[in-house]
Symmetry: C2
Subunit: 338 residues, 2 copies
DNA sequence: TTGTAAGCGTTATCAT
DNA sequence: ATGATAACGCTTACAA
């Protein structure tokens, strides 16, 4: 059995209140007794029981992080950022990633069973009424990650996909002097892909570059699919100042490898740019020009929002949009990189 | 304020013990009263207070997962596996990755502050006496991840690097009929790299393939370094049935890209294989033959060991070595893949 | 089958 | 400056 507060009190010849005080408000206790108590604490290897403490204080200093079970750096990026910030702020992180991304129902249920958390940062594929209700029932400070819910009144943090894609498009047109840009999106229903495509159209219009329907294609974010597709189309797409804007690095990588297989030189015969700035962006020849998506920062911000609300529940609802950053390497063929 | 057990008791016209029983041993309570209580619970949206519960039961159903702040799929692989298994077993995961990999001191300290965990799965770069002591002081079931500590008596789960590298070497020599194999390791002090190198020597000897000191090199696990190195050496290394065995996929990828840049064909002019089976292994042309390292399984096993010991503290100490699996694709030039 | 009451280890409010 | 003592919400003998 671990030592309890009364063991310490006994050993130091004081009451338990004095022990509690030495721990929580040392200023209120006489220097000599304080030393005696501290000695006893040390000798017994005493540490306050977290449950009893939580019972009184009604808080655990633990924050739940709920994610769909994603693959790729998305997952680890958010976790890393969240974990770091949580520790900086003196909190621990309770991780809970859903096996089935759509079973947020069961997920929220399992959360409320062991209601240790002071607050929750959650990312869900889709916010249904059902989930909305379940979350509300938790009666906990809540922040939504990477989910735009116009109607809701929760704190949230998202990534400004539109701004990132716009920055890339402007770079391509204004700096690289691209004459024709092919857009290769991900799944057609994917919100991020849609946002990136919107920016594509927008900047095309803004700069007076002609838009052609046949220059837009939707694949599935996968390397192999992109590679096969590229082998087919690149021979027709190649050309001076022509560029492929892929909606993620993986597809961009597929295009580059396919270009090589077709004896095309990147970026001279065809330029290729990606999105996300994942690990592989530095692992292609030429290295990929892409858009860095601040995943860790999104995780960190989510935790921060939870903590702030914990400190002050009256805070107004906040909605933070993180701006991605253009990363120019060699695959876009911009003059600067040469 | 959330409803408490006495609110439910009041509403259902029973004592709090009956409520408690309805929740924990429904069999012991009359069907009619049980229904009344359950109705009250539903109406009030009641959920037992986790702190009070923990205080009585002396357990939280939470397991700590302590990792160094690694990058790459290593990190997320372990977390994913651990999280999944924890939930299957009815536990939650408290994640805690150290910012500074060597500050396990501060880390363990922060752990014991909020001693909520029933047990801990921990991965440390190096188990020093100091850490060993700190861990022992926690008085918690403990399992070491990916750490071979001959002297210690903790449960542990590791990956059998040696077996994985041996399988690769045997495949290269026996199936691909490699005549000369170059070994490109990671950091010279890295335990994994050392284990892989040992297997390299061993199988060379076992199969009577000559060992040459100049065929062994140590880099830093990085793509760029490997690429630059390969540009230098590949012209001398190329040859029929020659193969580069890189100690991770990233370096292998560097070699393949360099080979392409040098107009060499993989695997015909030079074969290349990797280790880890990360995402990029499927993203090279040809696809990488490599060794799949069961990261998720390691995470899951660690959690499982903790839980088993929680159930039965008298269990003998266990040491589990997970076997990696050979994944043959096209880069090794083995006849089967053609 | 149900109720009473003790106790888990804290913190907080009073007195002293 | 310190000590009693009452919560906090729950489980669990023990009684009825």
């Amino acid at each position: 059995m671990a030592a309890s507060i009364s063991d310490v009190a006994l050993r130091a010849n004081v009451s338990i209140s004095t022990v509690s005080r030495t721990i929580n408000r040392p200023a209120l206790v006489n220097a000599q007794t304080r030393e005696r108590v501290e000695a006893a604490i040390r000798e017994l290897g005493y540490h306050p029981n977290a449950f009893a403490r939580g019972l009184m204080l009604r808080k655990s200093e633990m924050i739940g992080l709920v994610l769909p079970d994603m693959h790729g750096e998305f997952y680890s990026g958010i976790i890393r950022g969240a974990n770091l910030r949580a520790h900086e702020l003196g909190y621990s992180l309770v991780l809970s990633s859903a096996h089935d991304p759509l079973d947020t129902r069961g997920l929220v249920g399992s959360l409320r069973q062991r209601q240790f958390m002071d607050g929750i940062a959650i990312m869900v594929a889709e916010v249904t009424d059902h989930i909305e209700q379940a979350l509300a029932d938790l009666h906990l400070p809540l922040v939504l990650i990477d989910t735009d819910v116009p109607g809701t009144s929760h704190d949230s943090v998202v990534i400004d996909q539109r701004a990132g894609a716009s920055a890339m498009m402007r770079h391509l047109i204004n700096t690289c002097h691209a004459k024709r840009i092919f857009f290769v999106g991900g799944w057609e229903t994917n919100m991020d892909s849609i946002a990136r495509f919107k920016a594509y159209q927008e900047i095309l219009a803004e700069t007076g570059t002609p838009f052609r329907n046949e220059d837009v294609h939707h694949l599935d974010y996968d390397y192999d699919t992109a590679y096969a597709f590229a082998i087919q189309h690149l021979p027709n797409w190649k050309g001076e100042k022509h560029c492929v804007f892929a909606a993620n690095d993986e597809m961009a990588c597929g295009f580059i490898d396919a270009a090589h297989a077709l004896q095309l030189r990147v970026p001279r015969d065809i330029a290729v740019v990606g999105f996300d700035d994942t690990r592989i962006a530095r692992m292609t020849r030429p290295q990929l020009t892409t858009v860095r998506v601040p995943l860790a920062e999104m995780g960190a911000t989510a935790i921060e929002l939870v903590c702030q609300r914990l400190d002050d529940p009256t805070l107004p609802k906040r909605h933070i949009a993180l701006r991605p950053e253009l990363v120019t390497r060699q695959s876009c063929g911009c003059p600067k990189a040469h």
